[in-house]
Amino acid sequence: MKVAIIGCGAVGSLFAAHLAQLDDVEVWAYDLSREHVDAINEHGLRLSGAGEVVGRLRATADAAELPGCDFGIVATKAMHTSAAIAATAHAFAGGCVATVQNGLGNEEAIAEHVGNVIRGTTFPAGKILAPGHVQWDVKGDTTLGPYEPKPAPLDEVERLADACTRGGMPTTAVPDARGPQWRKVIFNASTNPIGALTGLTHGRVCERPDLRALVSDLVDEGKAVAAAQGIELDADPEALIDHAAKPEVAYDHKASMLQDVEARRTTEIDYLNGGIVRFGREHAVPTPLNQAIWALVKGMESSWTR
């Protein structure tokens, strides 16, 4: 089978390099960074850190080069989803496209261009060290499920999950993947912007009782919005937050949003807190604190271009 990774950043590279370990999978990667693409084609895609993996695959910055694929895995930053899938949709006319991105709204954006969509959530993380070389920081599970308005058949979801698992990325196919997605969104929306606004690492956010209380208030709003949609979280985001605050887990971790802010890059706030506010409005659930945090981070972004 053929799989194309759309957006071969840190997370996309984890999927690409692992899937490339399989003899029965032909892996393509579409990415706009020509340096990264050239390095992958010349030397393969290398992961180091949580494991050493080198994957041989075809990378391209030209969407027209992509062959017809059985599966797409979209792994761009959320604000690039629409442009990326618009450019590559032709490769998935007969296939299914999964998202493993952060936030809310990616499935909707993908469904505007392709017919069979897979909702996904992934916990592994890393960062790009150099073109063709990705640091694999955190191992973790991935959950995939049909996206209800334009669902991919469950057996196709299972086929992709099986390939990911065999390649070394443990992945589960479930009929309703909203639980893990909302758990991760609530986790990210309740902690990342707090790090971004204060400059504190995850552990330092959690050890300030008043700030930890604010995190819980944000979590509660997110849970209420999930509940109003009939979504059952697969676990309590609070547990994930406390787990991550442990010294041996992610105490010193600067949230990706804090890294974005320090580099003055546009953040994913619109798809995290913005997504919670949007779904909250649709289901008449008030989310004043998520809205406040969303406004503050957007304000911070606009201060860079002022």
């Binding site: 606004l197 504190l200 004043p288 604190l289 406004a295 957007k298 304000g299 860079w304």
Partner: protein, 300 residues
């Protein structure tokens, strides 16, 4: 008329230089080199005025002589040690606080028996160096009685300030004005400090405008519960300030950028404590309070 200005930041420098044109002014500074600089070169004002005033300065209050009026113009965070250092001195003086937020009067009251005046100031400037301050916004200072003083005492100081070329107005009860400014500062200063935005159009429209409106509404609810009728609507003050064409950098934003402690305790801290006392829920101000304090903690 002998005046001591305690604290020579932007506001203290503006008061000291202007008052020195009509009175004998001594300045209490924190650093020796700052005092030396003022004694040697005087204090220059540019912007809306252009002159250099002769002032005496020292870091030891005992070197400043007696005073009829003490203008306390240090940052809120420096108030407690300053009050302790001048406590029991300047026995014949009236003491006027100028700090943002609430509670500066109580701090001074705890350290001496002086008659006390409250004030809030809306003038603004930019401190270019120890001996040079630019006078930017010529908005007024509002003065009212606090302890052992009357409207006439407030008016006398207001008249003195006006004769020195600054704007000032006396009130019977300062609380309506003080609370208007408290809510304004608790809203605008924290939003600026967290976003990095100067007080510009973003504060009056769109998502950030909604947040600002929400913060103002919480503040109004606390004022109402505390029995204070506001003199000005803080939302109107906000909209008006964003339309001035010159975007002001609130001091809390400057403090955060320079990794200095902010006035969050006297401003938002006061408001949140009043909310607690009066049983009003202020989730947005509580969040801003936690976020700004955490930002201060991130410096170390």
């Amino acid at each position: 008329m002998r005046i001591v200005v305690a604290g020579a930041g932007t506001i203290g420098s503006l008061f000291a230089a202007h008052l020195a044109t009509v009175a004998d002014v001594a300045v209490l500074t924190r650093r020796d080199d700052h005092a030396r600089r003022l004694n040697e070169h005087g204090l220059r004002v540019s912007g809306r005025a252009d002159f250099t005033a002769q002032v005496r300065a020292a870091t030891d209050p005992d070197e400043l002589g007696e005073a009829d009026l003490v203008v306390v113009a240090c940052k809120g965070g420096d108030l407690e040690p300053l009050a302790a250092s001048i406590g029991r001195r300047f026995a014949g003086a009236t003491v006027m606080t100028t700090q943002n937020g609430l509670g500066a009067e109580e701090v001074m009251a705890a350290h001496g028996a002086w008659p006390l005046l409250s004030s809030v100031t809306f003038m603004s400037g930019t401190r270019h160096d120890d001996a040079h301050v630019e006078y930017v916004l010529d908005t007024a200072t509002w003065i009212g009685p606090y302890r052992g003083t009357t409207h006439a005492d407030a008016e006398a100081v207001a008249a003195l300030i006006r004769s020195a070329g600054l704007k000032a107005e006396a009130f019977d009860d300062l609380r309506p004005a003080q609370w208007s400014k408290l809510i304004f500062n608790a809203t605008v200063n924290t939003v600026a400090a967290l976003t990095g935005l100067p007080h510009d159009f973003h504060f009056a429209e769109g998502m950030l405008g909604e947040l600002v409106h929400g913060l103002v509404d919480e503040g109004k609810a606390v004022a109402a519960a505390a029995g204070v009728e506001l003199r000005e609507d803080p939302w109107e003050m906000n909209v008006h300030a964003t339309q001035r064409g010159h975007a002001h950098y609130p001091s809390m934003l400057e403090d955060v950028k320079a990794h200095r402690p902010t006035e969050i305790e006297l401003i938002t801290g006061s408001l949140v404590r009043e909310a607690e006392r009066t049983g009003v829920s202020v989730p947005l101000h509580t969040a801003m309070y936690s976020l700004v304090k955490a930002k201060e903690a991130s410096y170390s």
